[in-house]
Symmetry: C2
DNA sequence: ATGCAAGCTCAAGTCCACTTGAGGTCAAGC
DNA sequence: GCTTGACCTCAAGTGGACTTGAGCTTGCAT
């Protein structure tokens, strides 16, 4: 394949807005791969840009890199993925996105009726523990709605 | 004030579902405070439960502890906060919640038209960079919608 | 041919929100 | 009085997602 059509790591960084160090990191995590030039420099196929975009979009949905890597395994390794390949993957996240929206709407409605009314009292509070779905699960800003 | 009405750290942990270590941590971060018993044990006023609930609810909105601490500064230090005090604070988050929902809906609509259509090509992609709002800002699963 | 930006690897550092561990104290029941 | 569980402090560890730094090589322009 014609080497001029391959992208250096710097080019990918510029065009994707992702730092070179992050691209290295993604590779180490198995999210990306690249051929190498004679001199051992990374040479990316152009579809890496779509991959990176996909990764970032998924992160915005709160999906961890490990999960993203797992899903990306399903893409063809050899050929450049087709539109259908990408569509299949992203439709999975359409559902989780719907779920997250629903969760937040619930949260909002209960913010009116719960914090809003001053009743916020833990056990009884459905904002804190709506339908037993958002509770527990340990600390930290966690993803709303499990998969 | 009658000491029997104060709560030990273990009681607060049990009733709030938050680990003792997390309560210690919140105190170190200035989110909570407690009186001490003769023997130097924490004794919480009962409204700590509402404070903890508020903290957890805020975290679910993706708000960092530092920001939460800042907002909690606005509560009266001496007297137990009233319903109106809490309502005032939570109304601020009602807005950011609305914003987050709007962001996610935008994201969802563009998932249809963008990843869905196979056009995902970074610069031009509004999912990756919708209205220049979600872009940049460094790495990591970041909060949708700035304040 | 030489200068210098861009690339390479590997180790260590950062930030957040906690948790875990070590070593010691307190309080209530038997 | 003694045991046991709850509590204390302080330091260090964890995990995710990267970034930074050191020390070295590559590759394009002059």
């Amino acid at each position: 394949m014609p080497a001029e059509l391959l992208l250096s790591v710097g080019e990918v960084a510029r065009r994707s807005g992702v730092a070179v160090s992050a691209l290295h990191f993604y590779e180490a995590q198995g999210l990306l791969s690249a051929e190498r030039s004679r001199g051992n420099q990374r040479r990316y196929r152009r579809d890496v840009l779509r991959r990176v975009a996909f990764i970032r979009a998924a992160q915005m949905l709160g999906i961890s890199l490990a999960e993203i890597a797992e899903v990306l395994q399903q893409l063809p390794q050899q050929r450049t993925p087709t539109k259908a390949d990408w569509t299949r993957l992203s439709s999975r996240w359409r559902e989780s996105l719907d779920q997250r929206i629903a969760d937040l709407v619930t949260l909002r409605d209960q913010l009116q009726g719960c914090i809003g009314c001053g009743c916020l009292s833990l056990k009884a509070c459905r904002l804190y523990n709506p339908a037993d779905v958002l509770a527990g699960q340990g600390p930290g800003p966690q993803r709303l709605g499990q998969r």
